[in-house]
């Protein structure tokens, strides 16, 4: 390449205790180029970028910017080198407007002049095609608008090396396309762009080159034009794996759970579920798609008896008695006493599903500790269950007495899902069960969900990756702002269709 690399990393190593987060990573990014950093969760992508943006300092290795060695010990240093990072979690002041957030903390020469700043913001917007109103307050913005503000913030500060950490995780397919268009325009403008992601198709459609990390080690860089999904996966995982989900036809379906017109208001007085109705059938996987925070969590918690409902009914078709039991306004304990076998893998694994500081045995006991006579605990059955799950699901752990917080994300999830399946459920609900998991663990979880379906369990699966939802589920319920925007057949629907339903706001109510 004729031009000098905008940024070059040489043999960067960073360790946290005994964990090697990055080991001898070397890579370069040129101006006018988009580089993807691809790797599974925990492969050290974010750590590497944090070293460029001054949050961590490398244990070993050097960083060169425009051919000169740079020492970046703080985010301020990074700004001086014109490096801007857009974090996964936005750092904006809600009650401020877009422009106020953009100039916040900036020590510009001269008087504080908001109008001049607004003009500059507008210029940046026009140049790259951003759509944002400079005077709009952040709390009224959508996730995608907030992200735009974050990007303008670093551009305003004159950054010409941009790092984006998982920017598409919170966006709909349409918003993602828009973001990509902007990124391409910035590339053509001569900026160096690094984007962290684990989504293969995005890598292929956006970047010029891909650098792959695996377990902290730098595997290699390939030109996007010369590679394909299979090769990248192999680089990421270290071995060839089959990325197909086997989907069987639902058999002997009966309506197991009927949700009728439920409304739910949260503590802040916001309506989070608005007239939601649907039916979950046995022997079927019902997917729930929607932008994060559209009421998915409340919906599952309402069914599990953890949310008070304003109105509506949750009817459970009890296969033992043949009765329709109303689960509405019952506590989890009362629901279990009814003989309802409802398992729930919540989104917050270590904060709700499990207790991080307890060992695997005590976590197994969460569901069963009331069993047994007397005031004392019986640790033997949960211990046997723990050993069984470790064996069956290949949980990597030093032993049954290891606190679960010290297991890796995938193993934590196996422990939780294993416990919930061990309860022999008739309804199995899982919220984002593969979030943060590596590819192998993800497919283990998909297979477990499929097994449950084949055993006649009504499975409800809240997911974020539309590709997976379309491959795994039988039907997909699309939720938007607490309303059911539609229920589609996963075998025929397309991603764009679901994306449109996710953002539909015309209040179109449908009953499923």
């Amino acid at each position: 390449m004729a031009t000098q690399a905008a940024i070059e990393l040489r043999n960067i190593t960073k360790t946290f205790g005994h964990v090697v987060a990055n080991k001898n990573v070397s890579l370069t990014v040129a101006r006018g180029e988009i580089l993807s950093i691809l790797g599974e969760n925990g492969s050290g992508k974010t750590t590497l970028m944090n070293m460029i943006s001054g949050i961590y300092f490398p244990d070993e290795g050097e960083i060169f910017i425009d051919g000169k060695e740079a020492v970046i010990t703080s985010p301020k240093d990074a700004f001086d080198y014109k490096i801007g990072m857009i974090h996964q979690h936005f750092k904006l002041v809600d009650v401020f407007s877009a422009t106020e957030n953009i100039v916040l903390g900036l020590n510009e020469a001269g008087k504080y002049n908001l109008e001049a700043a607004e003009d500059r913001v507008k210029t940046i917007c026009e140049r790259y095609g951003f759509e944002v109103e400079p005077k709009k307050k952040v709390y009224t913005m959508s996730v995608s608008e907030k992200q735009t503000v974050e990007i303008i913030k670093v551009l305003y500060r004159g950054a010409d090396i941009l790092i984006l950490d998982e920017p598409t995780a919170v966006l709909t397919p349409q918003e993602t396309q828009k973001l990509f268009a902007v990124l391409r325009r910035m590339r053509d403008d001569g900026k160096a762009i690094i984007i962290i992601t684990h989504k293969l198709h995005e890598v292929l459609s956006l970047s010029d080159r891909v650098a792959v990390l695996r377990k902290g080690e730098y595997i290699g860089t390939v030109n996007t034009a010369e590679t394909n999904e299979a090769e990248l996966t192999e680089m990421m995982v270290g071995k060839k794996i089959e990325l197909n989900i086997h989907r069987s036809e639902p058999k002997n379906t009966v309506p197991r759970l009927e949700v009728h017109h439920i409304d739910c208001t949260n503590r802040e007085g916001v309506l989070v579920l608005d007239d939601v109705s649907f039916t979950a059938n046995s022997g079927e996987i019902l997917g729930i798609a929607g932008i994060a925070g559209s009421g998915q969590r409340e919906l599952l918690e309402a069914i599990a008896g953890l949310q008070k409902l304003d109105s509506g009914a949750v009817l459970y078709n009890n296969p033992q008695t043949g009765n329709m039991d109303n689960l509405c306004s019952k506590t989890p304990l009362q629901i279990r006493e009814l003989g309802v076998r409802l398992s729930f893998v919540p989104e917050d694994r270590l904060g709700m599903g499990l207790v991080g500081n307890m060992d695997i045995v005590d976590n197994m006991m969460l569901r069963s500790y009331t069993k047994g006579k007397g005031v004392f605990l019986e640790r033997k059955p949960p211990k046997e269950l723990a050993e069984h799950i470790i064996d069956e699901l290949e949980v990597v752990t030093p032993g049954v007495n290891t606190p679960v917080r010290r297991l890796s994300g995938g193993n934590v999830q196996k422990v939780l899902v294993g416990r919930e399946i061990a309860a022999a459920p008739t309804v199995f609900m899982a919220a984002y069960p593969v979030r943060g998991l590596d590819i192998n663990s993800s497919y283990t979880i998909y297979n477990l969900l499929n097994q449950q379906k084949e055993q006649g369990v009504a499975v409800i699966f809240v997911g974020e990756d539309l590709d997976v939802l379309l491959e795994l589920c039988d039907r997909i319920l699309v939720i938007g702002s607490g309303r059911v925007n539609g229920i589609v057949d996963a075998r025929t629907a397309t991603k764009e269709e679901i994306g449109l339903l996710m953002t539909k706001t015309d209040g179109g109510k449908q009953n499923g």
Binding site: G17, I65, D66, D77, V355, R367, Y369, V375, L377
Partner: protein, 370 residues
């Protein structure tokens, strides 16, 4: 383009890394050396202040805490065990609440009100019923009084989410003032209540403190089993770790909070009972003497393990009385004992840092600028 000024390397020299869990004996070794190091420092400070040699200071401390055991005098030794027992009892009392992450800072008041209940029973009912029945009544009312004092903040916490730290602290003042008022009424303006001879806990084997010590030993074992092996103990642990998890599996969080504070308060009541009916046979506003607050520290330093807490209580009492003796011998004032305890506890708390983290010196970087 980046500035052309070449920045100097100014990397941090030390860096701190989190350790994996340490082997238990290594952790014990670190804690032990922290205590020894602190005692060494205490020795140096004392020598400097008093002009007495090293060995002299330590022997005065030992004599102050345990008395002249080798000359067959055991009264100070028994006092040492008695004080340890009382402190341990209060520490045991706050532990279930702490395990539930309910910051019960009201052990002082709960014990005082329990002691007051015992005192009232002793004075009003003494001689009106058989002695054994009186003692039963005293036990019941002391526990009840402590439990009520403990459960009031718990009810507010469970139903209105009030801050339990402030609430329990304020309850201490109420208890102290009630006792002050009672002493004023009964003492007829003299400000003291003469020791009462009815309703005293029995003396066994001619040793006045033995029963107190045995009761606390039994409580220690019972509480250990309760926290570790009972369903209640498990519920307490789950509620403490995560109320969300507790809700998720159907534990009634409010019920657990209230039940645990009833227990915590009742145990404080027992401590008050031991102080009033078992030791002083009288009461004043200083009967508990701040040990309700020391107990908070003992519970934490003992990592909520009753057996470790017994050792810590012993250490605290040893320092208090040992340093007190040093202060007396050399006409230093009472703050000396506080300084000594402070130094040791600071070391003990500080060494936890080295158990959780290791400090490394950054390897020198090869030179060479761009």
């Amino acid at each position: 383009m980046a500035d052309t000024t070449v920045k100097k390397h100014r990397e941090p020299l030390l860096h701190i890394a989190k350790r994996d869990d340490m082997v238990w004996w290594k952790a014990c070794l670190i804690r032990l050396s922290a205590i020894l190091l602190a005692l060494l420092l205490v020795g140096i400070i004392s020598s400097l202040l008093t002009g007495e040699g090293f060995g002299g200071v330590y022997s005065i401390m030992l004599r102050g805490a345990f008395g002249r055991i080798f000359q067959g005098k055991t009264s100070l030794l028994w006092r040492f065990f008695q004080q340890t027992a009382i402190l341990l009892c209060l520490s045991l009392a706050v532990t279930p609440a702490f395990k539930m992450r309910f910051w019960n800072c009201g052990a002082e008041g709960q014990a005082l009100i329990g002691g007051l209940a015992a005192m009232v029973c002793m004075m009003k009912l003494g001689g009106k019923m058989p002695e054994w029945l009186l003692i039963v009544v005293i036990v019941v009312f002391s526990c009840l009084a402590g439990a009520v004092w403990g459960v009031i903040p718990a009810l507010f916490k469970a139903h209105y989410k009030t801050n339990e730290t402030l609430f329990t602290l304020m309850m201490n003042y109420v208890a102290t003032q009630i006792v002050a008022y009672y002493v004023y009424l009964t003492g007829k303006g003299s400000g003291i209540i003469q020791p009462v001879s009815t309703g005293n806990l029995p003396v066994i084997a001619g040793l006045p403190y033995l029963l107190n010590i045995l009761i606390v030993c039994v409580l220690m074992v019972v509480l250990f089993v309760y926290l570790k092996y009972s369903k209640h103990g498990y519920e307490i642990a789950v509620v403490g770790e995560s109320q969300n998890t507790a809700r998720y599996i159907g534990i009634r969080v409010k019920k657990v909070i209230i039940r645990t504070m009833l227990l915590s308060g009742a145990l404080c009541g027992v401590a008050g009972l031991l102080l009033v009916a078992g030791t002083d046979h009288s009461i004043n506003t200083n009967t508990v003497g701040g040990q309700g607050f020391t107990a908070i520290m003992v519970s934490w330093l003992g990592h909520f393990n009753p057996f470790v807490m017994a050792l810590i209580s012993g250490l605290v009492v040893f320092l208090r009385s040992g340093a007190g003796k040093v202060a007396d011998s050399f006409f230093l004032n009472g703050s000396f004992a506080d300084i000594v305890s402070g130094v040791v506890i600071l070391f003990l708390v500080g060494c936890e840092f080295f158990i959780r983290y290791s400090v490394k010196i950054r390897r020198g970087k090869k030179g060479g600028n761009a």
